[in-house]
Amino acid sequence: MSALVEYLPLFGQGILRTLSICLWGGLGALLLGTLLVTFRISPVPILQRIGTGWVSVMRNVPLAVVVFFLAFGLPEIGIRGSYFWFGVSALAVYTAAFVCEALRSGINSVPIGQAEAARALGMPFRLTLLGVIVPQAIRTATPPLANTTIAMIKDSALIGAIGVGGDLFSLADTLSASRGVDVIPVLIGVVLGYLLIIAPTSALFTFSEKRSVVRA
């Protein structure tokens, strides 16, 4: 256990690195996922098809393959970048599909009468959506969004594995391989690191879910 104390600064750095992968990846996934869900609910068939296609590809292809394709495939056509940004983009592109599904499930959960009532009042599409549907959809979308976010935080370990370096996974690798620290304390430290990121995230979502409950 003394190893945990000895390497505490390294663990701190690892947590920060993982956090920055997750923040950039999460931001990208949220923006892209929102765009995808607007595609899926839009009246334009081709946009719907793009949304559905994206989701079904990402559902069936492992994140590792997406990461490899971007990180090792794109440099072949002259797109250069650091593994960090390739990894973050892969994470965002992959997670966006699940964000899209979470948001869509929220929108679907709003009773159809709400949209019908809004339209009966003469509201146009945008007002129906933003003024009536979305505020109610957010509440139901929160739990699946929380799950998606937590899954993304754990997926970020894979980004470390392609050679980004410095995150919690790479730390586990260096400590247990080259520095010969016992495996179990390292494992506990790394998992505690992930818990340290996951627990507040999940608490934040629970909080916002409680806040958004409509008081009768």
């Binding site: 069936n60 492992p62 590792a64 490899f68 495939g73 894979l158 690798d173 495996v183 992930y194």
Partner: protein, 295 residues
């Protein structure tokens, strides 16, 4: 898409024109992107036959070698996925039963351990399986490290599915078996679990998709599943873009088949459900041939 019909009216002439304009714009944009990609690909010599034909042209001299090699990887993927899902199912069921039947004073311990392992990324659990097990003298083929890592995570996920399944079996079933004088274990084994498993089948098959996707993480410990084999082949063929595209397509096909199976099972269940004459509202499961008692 029918569920979203309510969001907008049947498009009128103006909206239809706008929709067509947007479609046109999007098609143009996609065409532009496609052209740009093609240009980039051509500039960097990515259209050269030697990069594509070993993968896609059956007449190429390397085609058979490459596909035999990748086929072996696919077999390893299926093997790891199959073993992992089977073991996870057994352990997950045991965990769920332990949790459901536990007394309150020690339930927190089971839940706590499950929550801890739920926070472990699969990558980490696979990696540590390969690092930790040899230090305690358990030397296994790489396949088993991958399987252990996958099982560690997925048995927790499956335990949740099983628990949900058990809780979804109507209470009346347990009450009925108590009334018939079955013991608690008999009730669980003969009455609740068989019904719970039928309820869970679609979710279990979906979990299989996740397991198959996660087997790709075997590359971290050097286990030669599909992705790792692709990585190895790239070193001689020098075509990462084409290779990972192909591997993505293979995963897509395999998992789409599994997903389609899940959907068939689900709709088959719903049909059997729907064919019953006036199903009692209290019995949402509806796989039973006996009518449910109305409370």
């Amino acid at each position: 898409m029918s569920e979203q019909r309510a969001l907008f009216d049947e498009l009128g002439p103006r909206a239809r024109r706008r929709s067509r304009a947007i479609s046109g714009g999007v098609i143009l944009l996609l065409a532009g992107l496609g052209a740009l990609a093609a240009l980039k690909l051509a500039e960097n010599g990515q259209f050269s036959a030697q990069k594509w034909s070993p993968l896609f042209n059956p007449l190429d001299s390397q085609f058979t070698t490459v596909w035999t090699f990748l086929g072996g990887g696919l077999r390893n993927t299926a093997l790891a996925g199959g073993i992992a899902i089977a073991l996870s199912l057994v352990i997950g069921t045991v965990l769920a039963l332990a949790r459901v039947t536990s007394r309150r004073w020690y339930r927190w311990a089971i839940v706590g351990v499950m929550e801890f392992f739920r926070a472990v990324p699969v990558v980490i659990s696979i990696f540590f399986a390969s690092r930790f097990l040899p230090t305690i003298g358990v030397d296994l083929p790489l396949l088993w490290y991958l399987v252990v890592g996958l099982v560690l995570y997925n048995s927790i996920a499956i335990a949740e599915i099983v628990r949900a399944g058990i809780l979804a079996v109507p209470r009346g079933q347990t009450e009925a078996s108590a009334a018939l004088g079955l013991s608690g274990a008999q009730n669980l084994w003969l009455v609740v679990l068989p019904q719970a498993f039928r309820l869970m089948l679609p979710s279990l098959i979906s979990q299989l998709v996740i397991v198959v996707k996660d087997t790709a993480l075997g590359f971290i410990i050097g286990f030669e599943e599909l992705l790792r084999r692709g990585e190895i082949a790239v070193q001689t063929l020098g075509n990462p873009l084409q290779m990972y595209l192909l591997i993505g397509m293979l995963f897509f096909v395999v998992n789409s088949l599994v997903s389609a199976l899940a959907q068939r099972v689900e709709s088959g269940m719903r049909q059997r459900n729907g064919s019953r004459q006036s199903p009692p509202a209290t019995l949402r499961t509806g796989f039973l041939r006996v009518p449910a008692l109305r409370s």
